[in-house]
């Protein structure tokens, strides 16, 4: 059977918005022409402003009251108690005294899911790799009620500085920041109960906030990310305890940075994917001529135009031995 040829209109739309043609090709491959059109239109709109309330500094109700008194209108986010959408505001939400006191963090809705999916407990030793600027680290600390331990790894000295500033501002005290490459994490000589690996990625899920991504990354760049992400994940799994849980995520929609990475480690490590109970699309079962492991459907893809947030891929796995 002859494949259906996509119409010119979606390519014209891609050209109009400044995308490299290969990106349009693969979006059509992933979810068809109609959804691609919706995605391209969605990326031209501004994402809703979201804050995460921080119970380490102030009870949620008190923060909501303080902000409401300042003329900030907030709306609940279904399923995320600490997340609130800023409907309107009479004050700059990123510079209020409450913000500077760490009562809340500016954080996209979908980027709250990886920490929630990892579900860290108070007494655990949790690794947060490639941690800066610390949105997820501070969220993990909040979920752990500032107890147990988080080891946050960050290679860049500059980014360590912003990580430290955010940890301090948010009142986190259970976290140690290591300036080191995650690929060298085995040299720490310890094993973690849980690990969050928010891998550096090409960022194709967050084009709404970075339009340069429409044309800044080639397929070669994506393959370089794939190699890097696979080595980060392999190293991370080495320091995970038996029965320990790991959440891998990226803010990329590219299968090479997501399903292909997971498939490679499924082939060589004794791990199992775990079902994730959040809304979103299942991981891709196939892409181009490749068919992925049948369990890949346990991973989640959060598409911007369907979720009204940043694009994310999330996989949760347990280590057998």
């Amino acid at each position: 059977m002859k494949p259906i040829q996509p119409s010119a209109s979606v390519y014209n739309l891609g050209e109009k918005y400044g995308y490299l043609p290969y990106m349009i090709d693969r979006y059509i491959e992933i979810f068809g022409e109609e959804e691609t059109t919706k995605l391209l239109h969605f990326y031209e709109s501004e994402l809703p402003k979201i804050i995460r309330l921080n119970s380490l500094r102030s009870p949620y109700s008190k923060t909501v009251e303080l902000l409401t008194n300042k003329g900030v209108e907030l709306k609940d986010i279904l399923g995320i108690e600490e997340g609130k959408e800023v409907v309107s505001s009479l004050v700059p939400i990123g510079a209020t005294p409450e913000y500077l006191n760490g009562y809340y963090f500016l954080q996209g809705k979908n980027s709250m899911y990886p920490s929630l999916v990892l579900n860290p407990k108070k007494q655990e030793l949790v690794g947060d790799f490639a941690a800066a600027p610390g949105g997820k680290t501070t969220h993990l600390a909040q979920l752990m009620e500032n107890e147990g331990n988080i080891f946050a790894l960050e290679l860049s000295l500059k980014r360590c500085r912003s990580l430290k500033a955010n940890l301090s501002r948010m009142g986190v005290k259970n976290t140690t920041v290591f300036q080191m490459d995650t690929r060298e994490v085995t040299t720490l000589g310890i094993e973690f109960d849980k690990i969050l690996l928010d891998a550096p990625c090409s960022g194709s899920g967050v084009i709404s906030s970075d339009y340069t991504r429409k044309s800044s990354k080639t397929l070669d760049d994506i393959m370089n990310y794939h190699e890097y992400q696979t080595s980060l994940l392999s190293s991370s799994l080495e320091v995970l305890k038996t029965n320990g849980k790991l959440v891998y995520c990226t803010c990329s929609l590219e299968p090479e940075e997501n399903e292909f990475v997971i498939s490679r480690v499924l082939d060589k490590c004794d791990i199992e994917l775990v079902e994730i109970n959040i809304d979103g699309d299942r991981g891709l079962e196939k892409f181009l001529q490749y068919e992925f492991h049948e369990d890949i459907v346990k991973t989640k893809r959060l598409y911007p135009h369907k979720t009204g947030g940043e694009g994310f891929f999330i996989a949760k796995m347990v280590k057998n031995r």
């Binding site: 990123g94 409450e98 500033a165 301090s168 005290k173 290591f178 300036q179 040299t187």
Partner: protein, 182 residues
């Protein structure tokens, strides 16, 4: 070339004494010292950084010879044998002290000085050169500063006289997180 990293180690008795003196200055004799729940660690450098670390973390960091950038709560720094309290150290003390001055402007958070006319209230008398914790309306923590005027002279001081000078490049007001933290 192999990179070298600052040493992160348990604070010496001398360093602990310097920190404790500053905390004692703020606390009543009856108050529980918040440092009792923490171990003090020092990050070496020309300016030494002092961190308060919980027991659980303290155990893990023993004998760990790795490039630790920070851990726990950054209390302040030691330079030329003097301990300088910084934002989070002050935040730890805030609920336990009355050396507090309440102001009615947010300008201090933007690296600006506090003028006499900005004062809303102060809980206890203070002298020129005293270290004070600064809060805004709703008692939200703004930072710390050194008074340039004694409280007994405030009434007679000019409204535009500077009470507390800004520390533009030191983490002593919470606006620092916006100016330099990111």
């Amino acid at each position: 070339m192999k990179r070298t990293y600052p040493v992160f180690r348990k604070s010496s008795n001398e360093e602990e004494k310097l920190v404790k003196e500053t905390f004692d200055y703020f606390l009543d004799k009856e108050s529980t010292n918040p440092l009792d729940n923490y171990h003090l660690w020092t990050k070496e450098g020309k300016i030494k950084e002092i961190y308060a670390i919980p027991e659980e973390t303290n155990k893990l960091l023993q004998n760990m010879n790795k490039p630790i950038y920070s851990s726990g709560i950054p209390l302040g720094s030691i330079f030329q044998n003097k301990f300088q309290l910084e934002i989070e150290g002050a935040h730890l003390i805030l609920p336990l002290t009355n050396k507090i001055i309440e102001i009615k402007t947010e300008q201090f958070l933007y690296g600006k000085p506090i003028f006499v006319e900005n004062i809303e209230n102060f809980e206890t008398s203070f002298e020129e050169g005293d270290l004070l914790i600064i809060v805004g309306r709703n008692k939200l923590h703004y930072g710390i500063g050194i008074s340039r005027i004694s409280s007994k002279n405030i009434q007679d001081a000019k409204r535009n006289a500077i009470l507390i000078k800004e520390f533009e490049k030191k983490p002593r007001d919470r606006g620092w997180y916006l100016r330099y933290g990111n």
